[in-house]
Subunit: 349 residues, 2 copies
Amino acid sequence: MIIDCHGHYTTAPPGLKEFRDLQIRALTDPAINPSKASVRISDDEIRDSLEGAQLRLMRDRGIDVTIFSPIAGQMAHHIGNAVTSQLWSEVANDLIYRVTQLYPDNYIGVCQLPQSPLVPPKSVIPELERCIVELGFIGCNLNPDPSGGHWKDRPLYDRIWYPLYEKLVELDVPAMIHVSGSCNDCFHHTGAHYINGDTTAFMQFIQSDLFKDFPTLKFIIPHGGGAAPYHWGRYRGLAQDMGKPPLAEHLLKNVFFDTCVYHLPGIKLLLEVVPTENILFATEMVGAVKGIDPETGYHYDDTKRYIDQVDSLTETQRALIFEDNARRVYPRINPILDRIVARKEIAHG
Amino acid sequence: MIIDCHGHYTTAPPGLKEFRDLQIRALTDPAINPSKASVRISDDEIRDSLEGAQLRLMRDRGIDVTIFSPIAGQMAHHIGNAVTSQLWSEVANDLIYRVTQLYPDNYIGVCQLPQSPLVPPKSVIPELERCIVELGFIGCNLNPDPSGGHWKDRPLYDRIWYPLYEKLVELDVPAMIHVSGSCNDCFHHTGAHYINGDTTAFMQFIQSDLFKDFPTLKFIIPHGGGAAPYHWGRYRGLAQDMGKPPLAEHLLKNVFFDTCVYHLPGIKLLLEVVPTENILFATEMVGAVKGIDPETGYHYDDTKRYIDQVDSLTETQRALIFEDNARRVYPRINPILDRIVARKEIAHG
């Protein structure tokens, strides 16, 4: 089975944005009072939004299942306050839930958290719990910078994050580290802020002893781990200079990377320096880079093609990257995948 | 000839820090009034600081010349105001000048700029001009984030930077993009802020048309270009989605990368995806990573060893990386190198 661990509902029907626009207008016009009930999106609109885009691409590329979450760039935790983020997250997560119900064989949910700048992260626990326990989601996206490019909140190793980590451990779900849009002109959204967010989180994990306190806590750093694999020697050396244990011991039981690296040399580097046990297949399609690479004739984000071209991978390693690591990092995926397999067996007689 | 284009005077004698500490104390205690004349550093101290460190390592590794600048992490443009930065830059640059006078065969100067948060960059022009014209320096370090991890200033493509760029073009000197220390807890100094600064600058160049306005302006992005080469497909794709020309045309006549990547797979990737014409040899020793890599038995920052191991490079390509590109990117290095060569010929009879 091929599992894409990193997809956002970037093609969501216009009713989602209409709600969000209304919610943002309501911040300055109290006469507007959008509720969850005001979201107008039909099942047919959801089907249309996916059939011609993600679902078609998944079929074209041989991807069975996508771990699917709300649009990362539009989480925009910096807009409004914690109440704003709570309602917006509920709406965005409920829409993902509907996708998982309409396409239970193809989509498994991951939630957006109702973070807000300088608000203690424990405030997101109820929505996390609702999504995992009630909606059957298997993880969450955690924004290390709710201020949207101003980095005003505490580093991920700060104890202010601990109540959330305790809940993640209790629920046995991982968090993907994922910033949202940038409201700092210095940082282009997908070209700088995303990659910087990944690199920054990785270094925060190196400089701390977070995983001594949470030995079973798991994070996925997307976009191939930001700059980390390219600078793997730098990070091994920095950890060493700080007196930390080797990275394998220090954080590789807890930190995983996806394969959203959009060219073959980058994927080769990732596979060479990071243990295969720490790499999860992902595309983030339809996402940051939508075009076709003139050098290959295929979409930049068709990452499966790059992995398929790395001859040195054994079948066991391929299975780890495409399926087994996801099963280990997202334990709650297993019963869902079992049901998918059972349905397929029935369908095929 | 082997030219290391990226060295900082990290081993500067204690008199430098004593001056800086005094200057920082003076910010809150006006009775203290440190002047340039109060800096107490002897020539012997300078010799001692280099002979056992950078100079020894240069000899061990076969590096002839280092393009040398003040300690990047201590530029700390966020401390005090523009007046503070002016005096501190003069002191730091004057010390580099003394190094170049004591070791004219080994060190060539690059200056720190007296930037200050939210102060228009044209304010640094007099110190830039002094260093290039009077001290014989060949370039400068330009901090894209004088606020030290808060990214409060304008992106590098903003017109507020243009007067400085006009002067760089007029003087025919490049700028190395180099952030300083981080005063934002989220960003580890050398593990996150440095690499993010590089990635951010590269993306700022992609999203703008800066080099249409300044076709001869040249920047070196250090630390192997941050995350850029690892995500080269992403950046090619983002430029393409934005309707920009291919990177070769869009910015590779103006943007260069150094080789401060501290492991062989990273160097291999850099050499594979970035044209050889755009890569300048560098170590940044003694710098961010001081240890010995247990996997190789050599210093992480002994980047020459990695390049030497890449068999696919031709002799012409090696000459570009180790010497010729530096001569092209830093045109003012040429008469200095000519004099070094002439002295060596005389010395060898």
